[in-house]
Structures are given as structure tokens and as C-alpha cells.
Amino acid sequence: MFEPNLMNPAGVEANVNPMPFSQTLVRDLNLDRIMDRITRQGYIRDTVARYITTPALDSRTIYYRQGVYKDFERLKDTFVEEIFRTVNKTTNIDTSRRGVGTQSKINVFEQVKEAVNVTNQYFDLLNELCEQLRSNRNTFESEGLISLTEKVIAYVDSGEYKELRETVNGIADSLYNSKALKVWVEFGSGLKASVATLCDISEKQIMPEGLFSKLFSKDKGDANDFILIKNIPDGITNDLENIKKEVLLHIKSILAAMSAGISRFFGDLRTEVSFYMGMVKIIEKITELGMPVCMPTVSEDKRIMTAKGLYDMSMVFALNKPKERMTEDDVVFNDLVMNEGDMLIITGPNQGGKTTFLRAAGIAQVLMQCGAPVPAESFHSSISDIVYTHFPEEEDKDMKYGKLAEELARLREAFEVITGDSLVLLNDSFATTTTKEGSVIAVDITKAFAVLGCRVIFVSHLFEYASTTDTFNANLAAEGINGRAVNFICDCIENEDGSIKRTYKIIPGVPQQKVFAKEFEQAFAAARK
């Protein structure tokens, strides 16, 4: 099959399944705020949205896309605009294609002619694309664009394509002066005429004495090998007309399938081009604000995540201030080291930057798996099959269920699909019951995550849980489970008046309950309401 393959290298099976819970992911990570930077066309934004929630699941594809991305970024004002114009032309031809044969009164000969015409328009567009790629081929550095170029040129220059265009044009020519159709007919079940193949449209009649008979009967011995019925009985005229019509409609349907194939190719190409254009736009906007981005690298064998200068892109877009005008309250850059088996347990007061930290990590992961640059100075991470976010639901959708039951039921669903490769982001989970009980549940749940071996970042108010990670880890070790909880805290300093000064940095540290007890209480009151 003919595919543009700008998103996935040929031979690597593309992931086409949206991540489970991806709608929740988009909401929890504020991804809409990021995608809203794409203002040019709704179609482009939709495409980006689709690829964000349908991530690449192998490093080969990620690096492949990074390559194409770089070409698009570099050629955004030249080649990209050109190819975008070309692929957009498909939509017009698609409209004509859908119109073929819709006017019922047109006879079948005319319908075939229309189909030939539309097919030729697609062929012409394919030739146009080919020339565009040919003339830009020296500027491409990415495997994706180079192989697309080679593929298109190879087909357009091939003998098959030439013969195909000749056959199509031949049909159009001979239809005007046709004197005979030569059809291979086979009888089937119940000795009834069943299938027919159109062999030739001829501008001469087919007669026994002529060239035709020589073609068919090698020995010319038996007169019965060519039976000619000159006076066709009235009773069979309709049946013959019907066969004629069927074989011509069949030609039309093959032409339609051909057109649909090229149309689909251009449609796919349009989608893929749109994705890169959209991504280039987002990154352009963030760098305009003075923020750093980097091309991430993939950890192949270890489930880890390390980052320097990681920040929450959605927050930057929400503020929309240039970097030099930002205060340290606005955006915070965090460093992060998550080794294999680590589950980060982050405790600390409200408004301490915990949720922002979760988002920053989630967004970077998602963008990496799109094949795009990420908001950080450096980012190195393993591939997640699922980025799962468990954030508090705003409202209690199901009254009979209760809040705790609701959030636990969501987790149960998650456990039905997440694997050791998943990235789990828990935001204030189990806060809908007492801290004591919440902590008991948290132990069970995180133990289960540890068994799975997935990466977890757990932002929590559960002091009882967070302060007993030593015991928890010892228990895991005793059971032979490879995993450990690692405590992180929001870096805060208590002022003399009892108020808290935050740095918004997330750093390794021991959970502190007393200092912020008041804020904890308030948080629970709010969460349980």
C-alpha cells in the first residue's frame, strides 16, 4: 500500500489506539491550553490532539519523528507552505470524486468517462507532488522526508504507472468509437451466468473471419469454436445490455478505488503535514516567550525519568508573559531524577507547586512520545504505553456512589489496563476519607504499582503514609518486590509570623507534618466537602 509514512517509519507498526483515559489526560494536564496556541486551522489542532493522545510506543518512531520535525521547523516558510498547498488541493478533487455517477440519468459510458477524468486529476496531483519533492530533495535531512521523496519518485517514474496512465487514457479514447466489447464470461452455480471480465473495448466489430478468430482458435479446426448470432432475439437484448452495463460499471468502480487510494494517500499526508506544522507552531510560541525546549532522549531499557529545568508549559501559556518579566512565583524550573523502581511521593502544603510539577512531567512525557521537543533543558525518559492521571474529580457525578468509591472505582479501571511501562500521576488521591484510612488504602495501591513496576509520581496529603515509607519499602523488599517509595517535598520555609514562604521547588526530603498542619486541615476540609 502507498502511504506517506511521515509519522511512522515503514515496517514499524503504527500505534493507532488512543491511550486509555486520554480525555482525562487532556483535561488533567491542561493540554487544551497548549494546543490552543495553534490558531491557523481547526484541522491542524485536531490532528495534533489526535497524535498527542495516540503516542508512539517505540524509540525508533520517536527519533524518526524528531527528524521530520526538525526538517519542518527549518523549512517552515518554504517547502512546508508549498506542500501544504498541494495536499490541500485534494479536498476539491475529492468533491468531484464523490459526485461521479450521482446523476442517475447519465448513461454508463458517460459515468466511466467522468471516472477517468477524476482519476486523471489525482494522477496529475501525484505528479505535482512528485516534482515538488524532487526539487526540494536536497534540503531534506530526515529519513521520513527522504524516503517519502524516493517512494513517490519511484512510483511516478515506474513502468507500471506509465502503463496505468496509458490504460486509463485508452479507455477514454476507445469509449467514443466503440464497436465491440470483448468479455470473458463464466457460468457458475446452477449453470447460470455468474461473472464477467472486460477484456477489451474495440473500435472494430469482432467477427469469425477476422483477426480475432485467429487469436482464439489455435487449430481453427472446429467451426463451433466461434458461434455468431447475427439476429439477436428480442428476449435476450436486455440481458446483453445488462452485461455490458455491469462490466463498464466495474471499470468505473476500479477507477473509483484507484482514486480513493490516491485520495487517502493525500489525506494521510495532509494529516501528517498538519501535525508537524501544529507542533512547530506550539514550540515557536513557547520559544518566543524565551522559554527553553530540548529534544528528549529515550531510555530504552530502564524505566526511568530524568530532567533538568522541567517546567509546566500549560502554565507558561496561561500567563503568556515573556520570561524576563516572570517572577519566581510564576514559573518554576525543577530537576528530577527517577530511578528504576522509584515511586515519588511528594508531600507539602497547598499551592506549593506539586500539581504543576505533576503536569510538567506528564506534558513532557506526552510530547516526547509525539516526537516533539519538550519544555525542559534536558529530558530523558522511558516510553509509556499509558500516561495515567488520577486527579480529583470536580463533581460527584454519581450520587449513589460516594466520592471515595468513585475515585477508587476509577483506579480499579486503571488497573485493568496499566502495565509496568505506564507512567502514573496521582494527584491528591484518597483524600476523600480520613488520612488514616486513606493511608491504609494508599499502601495497598502503591504496593500494587510497585509490583507492576511502573513509574509513579504521587502528590499526597497523606502524612501517615508518606512518613512511613521506610517501613513500606522494607515490606516490599521482604516480599521480594523491586520498588521503593522516595519522599519529595515542596521546598518551603516558615516565616517568623508562621506564614510559609514557598520556593515552588520539588526536592527530595522528609515529610513535615507539624509546620503546616493548619494548611493540611484546610485542604481536607476542602477535599471532603
Binding site: 466503440s178 471480465t197 432475439p233 484510612e437
Partner: protein, 544 residues
């Protein structure tokens, strides 16, 4: 005499008896009260033919051990021999095809076309008979029905007449195909028609060239030919063309005529082999498999030899189907155990509203019905007694508001129902006398239960009148009564929370939050089990 080949009746006398009974008895209680309709609709959702016939099998259960066992044997075979399901479904698809093809040979269109249908039916029959015997001969089949069928086809395919027919038919089929393929020249201005013998090469045709050279562009495989089939039995064109074929290949057509003369009366369709009998098993097993994928369990019930019924983990199949349709799995449906013995014949079920009482009653009733239809049942393990009647008394839905005449109507209906009841009958009462004052209701209940005990029938008595269970359980005059309760546990806020378990005693409560964790399935043990089911964690030997 032809073999008797039914796979749902061991002997024709059972079928005759059953058919007499159908239509006389009212099946409403099974259909409506037990919600069997939902099951039956789900089982036969994709069935196109004979739906009524199949449904009747469910609404009128069997009363004899022999045919029940006969069917259960087939169910058991299909479950234990993985290949059998495909074999039977393929075989059952062929049955109507052969029959329909043969029937077309009798339409008297023209001699050649009619003869071709006989040949076709013969070829289909040959391959179907060979297929059935070849694919089942090495299988460890235990059911009487399938052994009988296999023996029949063994006799058929090893007979000389069958062998001779096979040889003739297959050769003729190939020659006829060749004789009826040709080039058609459609000339116009002036019109003429040529019928030309020759060698066809698809790559030389227009469509062949298009399909070959545009191969890379197609998303779907494109055919190089098109269908010109018409639904008319025969057309003038076909007659004309066949005449030409006869001139071109006279010898083939004379063999075709001979074949028809010789085999027109061959029994291509056996009496007693009907696709609907296969559909009974295949549709039900498909239904079971779908639910099994979501964790629901089924078993082949055993017919009790000691006049006792013991069932473990029975659940409401109607509810299971509902959960299935909503995309859920077995964790949302609770299974229960129960038994009926000489000492425990009248089971009184009490408990809070919405506690699972009615669901339990349905699950027991459906269990009984399906077992007696000869089907797998929704339980982990089960033995059952054969009941002569299955009756139920559920509140009339249209009368929910309650009116003055309702109680007396209800009493009359119950009295009428009791007339045909024997010690081998099974009755489910669901919230009887709910419209009466509590004291009256309890008294009526007491009287009714006394009567039921005297008859000796098996009863499930679901009621909100818990005093009945408290009083009768201990009363020596009411021997045979046993009490069950839909379980409820205390919650933090003092409201009862339901587990939907039917138990003999009230259990103690759990910590509130952990209880919810348990209910939603997120305790470590439950997740561990889930991960084992997902084959992410190895199953430990200790956990069963």
C-alpha cells in the same frame, strides 16, 4: 429405515410428548418473572431462522432425565473438545445450503440447469459428509447424539454407492465448468453476439491491467471480474448460451443428463438433521463464551441421584447479561450457594430492600429452568433435581400502586396455581401479600407455607416479612423451613450497606473505607488477582 439423527431428542417419543405439552402450559412465569426472555433474546440475537422454535425449547423445559442428560452430554462435548464448535457450526451451515440447492433442481427451468443443481447438491453433500466424518473420527466424543451422527456418516462415506457418486460428480463438475466458460463478443452497429472458445489470460484484459498496475494504490483487493448474477431462475440468454455450449461440448452435457437420472433421488438431506438443533447448542455456547470472557463462570449441572439439590455460586444470568451489555465484568455480580433437601424444602429469604432477594430468587429459578432445558448453568458447581413444574408468583407489575381487590385477586391466583402442584414442583414466591396489612400478610404467609409443606413441593419464599422466618424456623410444625437473609453490614453513618450475598447468618461489618476499597476491587489482594488474570503476575500455587 432411516437412522434417527436428532441431536436434541434421544428418541422421537420425547419430542412428541413435549410438543403436545407446548401450548397447553402457560410459560409466562419463566419468560417474564425469571427474565428468561432476556437470556433467550441474547442467546438467539444473531439467529435468523426458527427463532420461535428455539425459544420454545427454553420456555417449556423437559421433565425426563433421559433427554436432559442427552443434551447435557452434547454441551459437555462442545466444552471439552475445542475443535467441535467450529465443526458443528460449519456442518450446520451446510445443511440448508444443500437442501436449498437441491430444491432448486425441482424448479423445472431447463433440463441442463436443473441437472446442474443436482450435481451441485451432490458435490456439497459429498464434501459435507466427508468433512463431518473426517473431522470427528478422531475426537473423543462422549455424547450419544454425536456418536450416533458420526456412525451414520461413517456408514455413508464408506458405502460403495457414495464412492462411485463422488468420483463421477467431481470429474463432471470440472468439465462442466470448462464447457460453460467462453469469450462473449458484444458487437454494436449492427448488433451481433459471438460465443467464442479460447484461452483466457487475465493480464491481457483491461480490468486485469488496471488492477495489476494500480495495485499499490488500492486499500482493498480489487476483483478483475464482476458479478452478473441475476435472481431470475433462468433467462432467455442463458438458455441460448447453454444451447451453444451443447453444440460445442456435447459429451459433457450427455454425462450431466445421465447424472441427473441416476442421482436425483439420492438422500442428500437426511430427515432429522436440522440446522435449528445445531443452533440450539451453538448459539447457547457462544452466549456462554462471551460471558466467560468477562469472568462469569458456567458449569454442566449434574442430575441429582439422591433427591437433593446443591448449587454453589449461582448468580442471576439476566443481571450478568445486563452487566455484559454495559461493558462490565463478573465482579459486579454476586454468586450464592443454596441447597434443597428433604429437611430444607421451603427457603424463606428476608432482608433489606434492594439487598438482592429478588435477584437471588431469579438466579435460582433460571438455574432450574436452564438445567432442565439441558443447558450449562450460571454456577460454579451444581447438582439438580428434576421438577415437574416451575412456577412463580411475582407481584403484578401493572398493579404496583395497590388497590382494594389486589389481595383477593392474588389469593385466588395462588390457589389456582396450587391445584396442579405436586411434591416434585418448584415454586418461587416473590413478595406475596405485600398489599396486605403486615399482620395479615404474615398470617397469610404462615397459612400458605403450611400448605406448601403439606404438598411437599420445593419453594423459594422471598418476603420482607422477617417475622415469618423468625417464627417458622424454630417451629416443629414447620419442619422443612429454613431461613436465609440478604446480607447487610453497618456503615459509619449507620445505614445498612448491601453485599448482595444471601447467607444464613448476619455477618460482622468491616472498616468503612477498606470496605469500599473491597467493593470497588482495589485491595491489594484483589488487584493482585486482577494482575494475575491479566497474566502480568504469575499465579501462586496457594491461591486457587
Amino acid at each position: 429405515m432411516a437412522d434417527y439423527l436428532s441431536i436434541i431428542w434421544p428418541d422421537d417419543k420425547y419430542r412428541t410428548e413435549w410438543e403436545e405439552r407446548v401450548g397447553q402450559e402457560f410459560s409466562g412465569s419463566i419468560k417474564r418473572d425469571l427474565n428468561a426472555e432476556r437470556i433467550v433474546n441474547a442467546v438467539f440475537a444473531r439467529t435468523k431462522k426458527d427463532k420461535d422454535k428455539l425459544e420454545r425449547l427454553f420456555y417449556y423445559p423437559l421433565r425426563d432425565a433421559d433427554p436432559i442428560a442427552f443434551r447435557l452430554e452434547v454441551m459437555q462435548d462442545i466444552r471439552t473438545i475445542p475443535a467441535l464448535f467450529e465443526i458443528l457450526s460449519e456442518f450446520s451451515k451446510a445443511i440448508p445450503e444443500i437442501r436449498d440447492t437441491y430444491a432448486k433442481s425441482l424448479e423445472n427451468r431447463n433440463p441442463e440447469q436443473d441437472a446442474a443443481r443436482v450435481l451441485e447438491a451432490a458435490c456439497m453433500y459429498i464434501s459435507t459428509a466427508n468433512f463431518f466424518y473426517d473431522s470427528t473420527k478422531d475426537l473423543d466424543i462422549k455424547s450419544r447424539a454425536l456418536i450416533r451422527m458420526r456412525k451414520h456418516f461413517e456408514d455413508v462415506v464408506s458405502s460403495d454407492s457414495f464412492k462411485e457418486m463422488s468420483e463421477t460428480a467431481l470429474k463432471l463438475q470440472a468439465d462442466l465448468k470448462d464447457a460453460s466458460s467462453f469469450f462473449m463478443a458484444l458487437n454494436s452497429g449492427p448488433s451481433s453476439l459471438g460465443i467464442v472458445r479460447g484461452t483466457f489470460n487475465v493480464d491481457d484484459s483491461i480490468t486485469g491491467k488496471l488492477v495489476k498496475n494500480a495495485d499499490i494504490l488500492f486499500r482493498n483487493v480489487q476483483k478483475t471480474n464482476c458479478s452478473i448474477y441475476n435472481s431470475v431462475p433462468t433467462t432467455a440468454l442463458e438458455v441460448q448460451l447453454i444451447d451453444c455450449f451443447k453444440k460445442q461440448k456435447p459429451e459433457v452435457f450427455s454425462r450431466l443428463a445421465d447424472f441427473r437420472v441416476k442421482y436425483a433421488d439420492y438422500p442428500f438431506t437426511e430427515d432429522g438433521i436440522t440446522e435449528y438443533e445445531f443452533e440450539f447448542y451453538l448459539a447457547y455456547i457462544s452466549f456462554v463464551r462471551q460471558l466467560e470472557e468477562r469472568g462469569f463462570v458456567f458449569c454442566v449441572p449434574r442430575i441429582s441421584q439422591n433427591n437433593e439439590e446443591r448449587v454453589f455460586g449461582v448468580y442471576d444470568l439476566g443481571l450478568a447479561q445486563e452487566v455484559f451489555e454495559q461493558g462490565g465484568n463478573s465482579t459486579r455480580v454476586v454468586g450464592n450457594d443454596f441447597q434443597i433437601t428433604q429437611d430444607e424444602r421451603v427457603l424463606i429469604i428476608t432482608g433489606p430492600n434492594q439487598g438482592g432477594k429478588t435477584t437471588f430468587a431469579r438466579s435460582v429459578g433460571l438455574f432450574q429452568v436452564l438445567a432442565q432445558v439441558g443447558c450449562l448453568v450460571a454456577a460454579r458447581e451444581a447438582s439438580f433435581m428434576i421438577m415437574d413444574k416451575m412456577l412463580s408468583q411475582f407481584p403484578e407489575r401493572e398493579n404496583v400502586g395497590g388497590n382494594k381487590g389486589r389481595l383477593s385477586e392474588e389469593i385466588i391466583r395462588i390457589a389456582e396455581m396450587l391445584r396442579g402442584v405436586t411434591k416434585d414442583s418448584f415454586i418461587i414466591f416473590n413478595e406475596s401479600f405485600a398489599s396486605a396489612r403486615r399482620a395479615d400478610g404474615a398470617e397469610l404467609g404462615r397459612q400458605l407455607i403450611k400448605i406448601l409443606l403439606d404438598i411437599g413441593c420445593k419453594v423459594l419464599f422471598v418476603t420482607h416479612l422477617y417475622e415469618l422466618s423468625q417464627e417458622l424456623d424454630e417451629d416443629p410444625n414447620f419442619e422443612g423451613v429454613v431461613s436465609f437473609m440478604a446480607e447487610a453490614v453497618e456503615t459509619e453513618d449507620g445505614s445498612g450497606r448491601r453485599t448482595y450475598k444471601i447467607i444464613r447468618k448476619t455477618s460482622t461489618g468491616l472498616v468503612f473505607a477498606m470496605d469500599i476499597a473491597k467493593r470497588t476491587g482495589v485491595t491489594y489482594g484483589q488487584i493482585q488477582k486482577l494482575l494475575q488474570e491479566r497474566k502480568i503476575l504469575p499465579v501462586k500455587e496457594a491461591s486457587k
